[in-house]
């Protein structure tokens, strides 16, 4: 395995990207989950797909854009989607979850239209849907590195404000924290993370890498910092084991990573149960 990684650039790209994403997606995921925004992540990933398929279509038809990485369209769509979701949440104040199906169907609908307009990129689309080990380019890797730097800077700089905002939004506002501004930045960061993760795990499975490690972590941890640590550990385990399985068994990495995450989650839940039983006896 190590030999193969040293030998093939595409494998280096896939593993490095995977390790980076296995770190930032669950880290941000903790904030997403405790703020009950997991479904928003799902909606955004579908919007990202619309951006990417739109980008692929433009690649095909406009010569000047032929080498323009469709990830950029995905990022733009995702950010636009996050802004729209916020708008809709304000508009439907008392049914704010309505924003999610609206944006989600928008994303899927547009993707379906773009995919059927261009019937020549099925394998590309498969890669974006379920992830890929072989098609991650050096350029993709650099984009992922740049996004990771932005996400980590944001989380470090605003950690204490994000904690207050997640735990108690009214208190955050009453304390005079710029809650609206931080929330807006947070949504953009979520959009960026989704766009970055999609290359490896695929659009349909991004939200599982954001939520499953956190679900396991919350069963074990007492505090917030602990939850962050466990989530990253579980995320990295899922990505690394998942990528190795994908490589050897020639499967879509999105699938193997998510299946590994679910296995980890089940093990955590069972262990916790066993420990609790033991404590009771």
């Amino acid at each position: 395995m190590i030999e193969a990684i040293l030998h093939y650039e595409f494998l280096q790209n896939a593993f490095l990207s995977g390790i980076i994403i296995g770190f930032i997606a669950p880290l941000l995921g903790v904030f997403i989950v405790v703020r009950r925004m997991s479904l928003i992540a799902d909606a955004l990933s579908h919007v990202t797909l619309a951006g990417i398929t739109g980008g692929l279509l433009l690649n095909q038809h406009i010569a000047a854009l032929a080498f323009f990485n469709p990830i950029y369209f995905g990022i733009a769509a995702s950010i636009l989607g996050s802004v729209l979701i916020e708008r809709l949440r304000v508009l439907y104040k008392h049914f704010s979850e309505l924003a999610i199906p609206i944006i989600m169907s928008c994303g899927i609908g547009l993707s379906a239209v773009f995919i059927s307009l261009a019937n020549g990129f099925t394998t590309d689309v498969m890669g974006y849907l379920f992830g890929t080990v072989s098609a991650v380019s050096r350029q993709d890797l650099w984009i992922i590195v740049a996004i990771a730097v932005i996400v980590l800077l944001f989380l470090t700089i605003f950690y204490k404000e994000l904690f207050v905002l997640s735990f108690d939004e009214e208190y955050a506002k009453a304390s005079g924290l710029p809650a609206t501004m931080i929330h807006f930045l947070f949504m953009i960061i979520v959009a960026l993370t989704i766009a970055a993760s999609m290359r490896i795990v695929g659009i349909l499975l991004v939200s599982s890498l954001i939520t499953l490690p956190v679900a396991g972590a919350m069963r074990l941890s007492k505090g917030f910092k602990e939850t962050l640590v466990y989530s990253v550990v579980f995320g990295e385990m899922a990505v690394i084991i998942g990528l190795i399985l994908a490589f050897y068994l020639d499967l879509a990495p999105g699938g193997t990573i998510v299946v590994t995450s679910i296995a980890i989650l089940i093990i955590v839940i069972l262990c916790k149960k066993a420990v609790q039983k033991g404590a009771q006896q």
Partner: protein
Amino acid sequence: MMKTPYVELKNVSFTYESNPVLNNVSLSVEEGDFLALIGPNGSGKSTLLKIILGLLKAKGEIKLFGEPISDFQHHEWIGYVSQKSNAFNSGFPATVKEVVQSGLTKKAGLFKPMPKDAKQKVMEALKAVGMEKFINRRIGELSGGQQQRVFIARALISEPKLLVLDEPTVGVDIKHVQSFYDMLSELNKKHHLTIILVTHDIEAPFNQISHVAFLNQRILFYGSIDEYNLLPKEQIYQWYGHSVRAV
């Protein structure tokens, strides 16, 4: 020399959608005051506190520490315990320490880390409410009354000049209610902490309070505790009764 009041309201009115809640409320709270804000359910007490905290925008003139509320920046001077502070998601993975420490966020400032003595301050604030043994417990695993005391510690940790409490003792047992009120009056007397307390508590420390305001959409009474004690009981019952009919 006149001192600037900590809170000064002039003709403040507020309407939720089409439902008028406050009508020309004028009130001032000065340094060292311990004001009990009382009134029947739905009389607008929580709403008034939210207006003072800047959570709701109202008509009229509002000044905090002498500054119009729109220019006011020093929210760390105000500690707040809301009426439903323990309505948070009880599965939230945070320890008591993390929750109390988060009360320092505004004081520490944007782009700055928590102060180095944060841990020690958390300990002091928890001691003040008798919760120091629970410092490493998960917040959702405490009882309602214990959670409430943690939220009081979160409000105290930034050493505010003004403490705003909305029925803080709901769910707290008698023994701790008493020690909580003792703590408030000590903070008020020894440390000159100014306090606005919304309460339905008949047991409230009426001998330690300095002023009383009776609110029912408008201020029906405002005066010192001595003036309040001189009011005929029928008068107070009438104010409550009146509102019951209005509701």
